[in-house]
Subunit: 346 residues, 2 copies
DNA sequence: TGTTAGCACTCTATGTTGTTGAGTGCTAAT
DNA sequence: ATTAGCACTCAACAACATAGAGTGCTAACA
């Protein structure tokens, strides 16, 4: 692959990414002054086509990059595009002013990602590590109603209403809370299941009914692990891409977006322990998405992969830009989350 | 408006709602055996057009109902379609098995609504009435981190992490919680602002830093009123309606769906204190939605309107069905929420 | 007087055909 | 190795023709 061929391929990709129209030899000669005539470029293009880097939609049209072409571009030709000063400032500002809890962080991230790229953003909720029991609190609401609140040590809070037998006063509940807290301090789910449960029951047996509810909630909390949820951003945004001029395309795209499970697999599966991963067209394992490309990367929490973010768009994607954005956003997201959970050390 | 004219209008509406194609006189004569010839029906149709109940898209096409036609249908011709036994059972089962907290109820409702109607569902989150302070709890997390949890008397829970000065033990926090709870019991926001604040500060002055945070959260909680949020369901669902064969239509529709505020106004504004409201086309005040119809109704909590649900679809809508569904769902939703908040009295 | 058959007319949707222009591949000259 | 020239291909577009659905009107009919 000599130098000029690379230049031609680069030109084709850049032009096609920008215009979504097949690129002809004349266009390249004019716009990307390589100092040679269209005829020469035609020869190079014929070669590139033989090697599978570009293809012709039909006989008398220009060329478009093939998946292999994009792959070559991403691996060898592309220069990652860093965010501008302005963009970085904007992002930091958004996080600082508008975000107060973990759900908002995730949502904001997906919004920013799609806004910066014009494609669809996906963010997987973080698995918040350890998740052991921290605190339980029973609060009397109505005469016959109580709320059970469970706090996990990663900062997740669960709560549930429950019916309560008559004749339990608010101070009874306070006592119950205190005893339970003392017993359960720092316990893992195994501890609770194996040993503590019996101990507690024998001690507080008369409040069996409430205990049952409390235990159920604690177990749910421990089991739930903030069940992998995926946030999408800018699905609608992407419809402005010319690949969606056709109603059928829109529908199939939207039906993919509806399949949460598929998208979770996509994100969880594609991104490795570290760094940005790019999957182009058929490189994606999920069959139904083979017309698109994904740029994904994990974000970390306490040094370990906690979740992933990704951008989904047509194979004709601004890879340089998207990769830059995804890279920045994952690092930023890690920081923001870390600060939020560990405390915003001044 | 004589009897036969009504029958013709009814036939036109039913057929057009079913097929989305302009209806001709032949079709009516054949399918809706009125016992007269197409020519007679043509005469009736000419009259109906003069009166503004139907219109012709172009000279040699059949007729389609006008907004006035739909209005007449909804007011005088239509027979509300109750849900089938099967559907009702399905709904009840879904709520019972899958729904454990208030957010899920709302989401499930919008899902079911859109599923049953094939249009887009909108559900406004409930305003949970009073919303006074019920309980506060400080929980020590890390050595320098604490969580503040505030419970409101309508069952809403807010929580926030905060930094904590060194040298405050877990039992200090327990004490703090207890004193605060005692002081604040059942207080409204005014109480807190006017009198209690000073009292508490003078008593617990040395923990000023924590108090500030706690008070901030309480005030936020009182102010937030679970800020009117809207849940949409089945936006994509609706794309299968033939009115969306055109890309532009899809885009404008989706851009409407993105404007949360607009939709909130729509729902909050259109539905009165009680019962199902139907707004057809231009009857909708919001300009940008004038091509659609809305069927909305409020749901109640403790005897007062707490929120609204609605269905948004093309003017060519199955009003009979949709009205039945909306009616049933609001009543059911009221019940489910009531039970959830007041306690699931057996 | 209300109903109906018949018919001319209208207009969209669909298909056909011709034309244009962008772009190629090949060849021969440089 | 590069390039000008040229014949060729094919999608896109426009112009035109055709078919058919549906109407409104008129005149005949019960």
């Amino acid at each position: 692959m000599d130098d000029r061929k690379q230049k031609v391929l680069l030109a084709i990709i850049q032009d096609y990414v920008a215009t979504a129209e097949p690129v002809g030899s004349r266009t390249i000669a004019k716009k990307y002054k390589l100092g040679v005539s269209p005829a020469t470029i035609r020869n190079e293009m014929a070669d590139l086509e033989d090697q599978g880097f570009i293809e012709q939609p039909h006989a008398s049209a220009g060329r478009i990059p093939s998946e292999r072409g994009y792959r070559y571009y991403v691996d060898y030709l592309m220069i990652k595009q860093e965010l501008t000063r302005k963009e970085e400032d904007m992002i930091r500002r958004e996080y600082e002013t508008k975000v107060k809890e973990i759900g908002q962080v995730i949502q904001m991230t997906s919004q920013l990602l799609s806004q910066l790229t014009c494609y669809t953003a996906m963010v997987l909720t973080p698995r918040l590590g350890s998740s052991n029991f921290k605190h339980i609190q029973l609060v009397s609401m109505h005469p016959t109603q109580a709320m059970i609140i469970v706090v996990m040590d990663n900062g997740v809070v669960h709560n549930r209403m429950t019916e309560m037998p008559e004749g339990i006063s608010a101070s009874d509940m306070e006592t119950l809370s205190r005893v339970l807290n003392a017993k359960l301090q720092g316990a893992t789910i195994e501890d609770i299941k194996r040993t503590l449960l019996k101990e507690i029951y024998s001690e507080l047996g008369k409040h069996r009914r409430i205990l049952d509810m409390a235990m159920e909630l604690i177990q749910d909390s421990l089991a739930l692990r903030t069940g992998d949820k995926i946030y999408l951003g800018g699905v609608f945004n992407m419809l402005n891409q010319p690949e969606f001029h056709d109603v059928e395309k829109i529908k199939t795209m939207l039906s993919i977006m509806e399949q949460e499970k598929l998208l979770c697999d996509l994100l969880a599966g594609e991104s490795r322990e570290e760094g940005v991963t790019v999957r182009i067209g058929n490189e994606i394992k999920q069959r139904s998405i083979r017309d698109y490309s994904v740029v994904a990367a994990p974000y970390v929490l306490g040094g370990r992969k906690a979740g992933s973010v990704g951008v989904l768009g047509p194979t004709r994607m601004e890879y340089a830009k998207v990769i830059g954005v995804v890279d920045f956003m994952t690092r930023n997201l890690s920081q923001v989350l870390e600060r939020m959970i560990q405390g915003r050390g001044k």
